[in-house]
């Protein structure tokens, strides 16, 4: 096989790397140094770091992403754990993944119906005697729906980690007299931590940028970094400021990736 010929196969992929991976990242950094009048400036960054609104928005966004990740993790770990003990676990896992193939907008739309004034949730609240509440367009509803959407993406990597766990370790721990809880805390959990980290990675970063949910479910009360970027790019047309927030989001992403180590999302499910 001649070296030159096989090199040709690399061209389309190499072009993709240059045009759609490297160039866009470079462009968003470049754009963040320009103001509305296309003049080179650092003002976007100084505005961002001096404005209480922007900083509060960023902290808020990180806080909400943290809450969503926390709730998703608390629900997903036991689910993955119990799921893994089932007989036809691959089939059940598939049933967990199936909802992720339903368009995210349709799921958000379903919750508009469920949480509406006379919707299912309020009918239930009336039934148990609490009476109807304003559910839609609250922060809690945003967190609920975001958690709902992210659960499968957390279950999958944890399940894979449990699958990789050598059962001999668990047996050894039991033979040496550890209780179920000790086995879990000292053996199973530490060994499946990579899965949890991969799950955190797969949930936390998208949670910073879920702008459609803040609009449809959160009623614009929650502003995430994603909402702010969308607003600047598509509504106020201030691309420079939008890119600056984009750079902040990229930095946040890199921080999360470093903190959670070198785990790549396993299994590759749709976003």
């Amino acid at each position: 096989m001649t070296k030159r010929k096989t090199w040709l196969y690399f061209i389309p992929y190499g072009l993709w790397l240059a045009l759609f991976v490297i160039a866009p990242v470079a462009l968003i950094i470049y754009q963040s140094f320009f103001d509305l009048g296309h003049q080179f400036t650092f003002s976007n960054y100084s505005t961002y770091f001096q404005s209480a609104t922007y900083l509060k928005m960023t902290l808020n966004s990180v806080w909400y992403a943290f809450l969503i990740t926390l709730f998703t993790g608390l629900i997903s770990y036991p689910t993955a754990y119990f799921l893994h003990q089932l007989k036809h676990r691959q089939f059940w896992l598939l049933l967990v993944i199936l909802p992720t193939w339903i368009n995210i907008l349709l799921k958000a739309y379903a919750f508009i119906g469920i949480f509406s004034q006379a919707g299912l949730a309020n009918q239930f609240l009336t039934f148990i005697g609490i009476g109807p509440q304003q559910i839609l367009f609250t922060n809690a509803s945003f967190i609920f729906v975001a958690t709902y959407i992210q659960i499968p993406f957390m279950i999958l990597p944890i399940f894979n980690a449990l699958d990789d766990l050598n059962p001999a370790f668990v047996n050894a721990s039991r033979d040496l007299g550890a209780s179920n809880w000790q086995t879990f805390r000292r053996v199973i959990f530490p060994l499946t931590l990579p899965g949890v980290k991969a799950g955190v990675q797969a949930v936390f970063i998208p949670s910073l940028s879920l702008f459609m949910l803040t609009r449809l479910i959160g009623g614009n009360k929650v502003i995430t970094l994603g909402t702010a970027i969308e607003e600047h790019f598509l509504t106020t047309m201030n691309w420079g400021m939008g890119s600056t927030i984009g750079v902040v989001l990229i930095i946040a992403m890199i921080i999360v990736m470093t903190l959670t180590g070198d785990q790549r999302p396993k299994g590759g499910t749709p976003r």
Binding site: Y9, T79, L105, Y109, L216
Partner: protein
């Protein structure tokens, strides 16, 4: 006791996962106009859906973009995986893989915004072309990730044997490598397809005015409130996803069976 708790917990999680989807589909058959009280069975919303010319055109657009972009992404991604697999230097391989995964981990908004800047700078008009290119771009890395493991499983002696027997580069590729990695290629294609059908944020940024895909259309209609035609649409889409998942599962099972058979032959 523990078993019972586990079972109850799982049942609860599955109810939560599926309730909203079933809720949507149930109301697609309701005679009312809202998702509050069920008013008796009707096909009316499906009739509205299938006579909505704008919606049908958008469905056609969405499917066209999904199929075309997945095909092209599968081709480029497979070639990419082949060249990554051929790199001998560890550093090159690692950095190629890192670059490959940039679009996998980037938030959708960042991808959308940066592609928008990119297309505007190159004066590429927003519409079908820009959406297609964006979809190809974010589908390529998943194809690479699906094909690479199969390539790694391939034994070097098989390739040597083929070359010793006089196979040309092209023959080697089409007769030996591609048949061996085809399960990975199919898996990559399916994942690319679902990525495309599922995407909203990136498309929303680069779509411009004239062109729309299903996600973008659902978003703009959902902002206007409840419309049971969307429920009917979700019914149709759920059926479609079931078929896709079934297809994907079948491919995985088939490749697993083949592996088992191979192991039997070896032992």
């Amino acid at each position: 006791m523990r078993q019972k708790f586990a079972k109850a917990y799982l049942i609860l999680v599955f109810i939560i996962l599926y309730a909203p989807i079933l809720f949507l589909i149930v109301y697609s058959f309701s005679q009312g106009e809202t998702m509050t009280n069920y008013h008796g069975f009707t096909w009316r919303h499906y009739q509205t859906l299938f006579s909505d010319a704008r919606m049908l055109a958008i469905v056609a657009n969405t499917l066209l973009v999904a199929l075309l972009s997945s095909l092209i992404a599968t081709l480029i991604g497979t070639l990419g995986a082949l060249s990554i697999n051929r790199t001998t230097k560890r550093v090159t391989r690692e950095s190629l893989l890192t670059l490959n995964n940039v679009l996998m981990v980037s938030p959708d908004v960042i991808i959308g915004a940066s592609f928008l800047i990119f297309f505007t700078m190159l004066k590429i008009p927003l519409g079908f072309g820009s959406v297609l290119m964006s979809h190809i771009a974010f589908e390529i890395p998943i194809v690479v990730l699906m094909v690479l493991p199969r390539l790694r499983e391939m034994s070097a002696s098989m390739l040597d044997a083929a070359q010793d027997l006089g196979a040309t580069t092209r023959q080697l590729l089409s007769q030996v490598i591609v048949p061996f990695i085809s399960p990975g290629i199919f898996a990559g294609f399916f994942m690319a397809l679902t990525y495309s059908l599922d995407d909203f944020a990136v498309t929303f940024f680069v779509t411009g005015n004239g062109f729309s895909t299903l996600s973008v259309e659902i978003y703009s209609r959902a902002r206007q409130g409840i419309n049971l035609e969307i429920n009917a649409l979700s019914g149709v889409m759920f059926l479609f996803s079931l078929l896709l998942v079934g297809g994907y599962y079948w491919i995985q099972q088939a490749s697993r069976k083949r592996k088992h058979r191979k192991r039997e032959v070896v032992s």
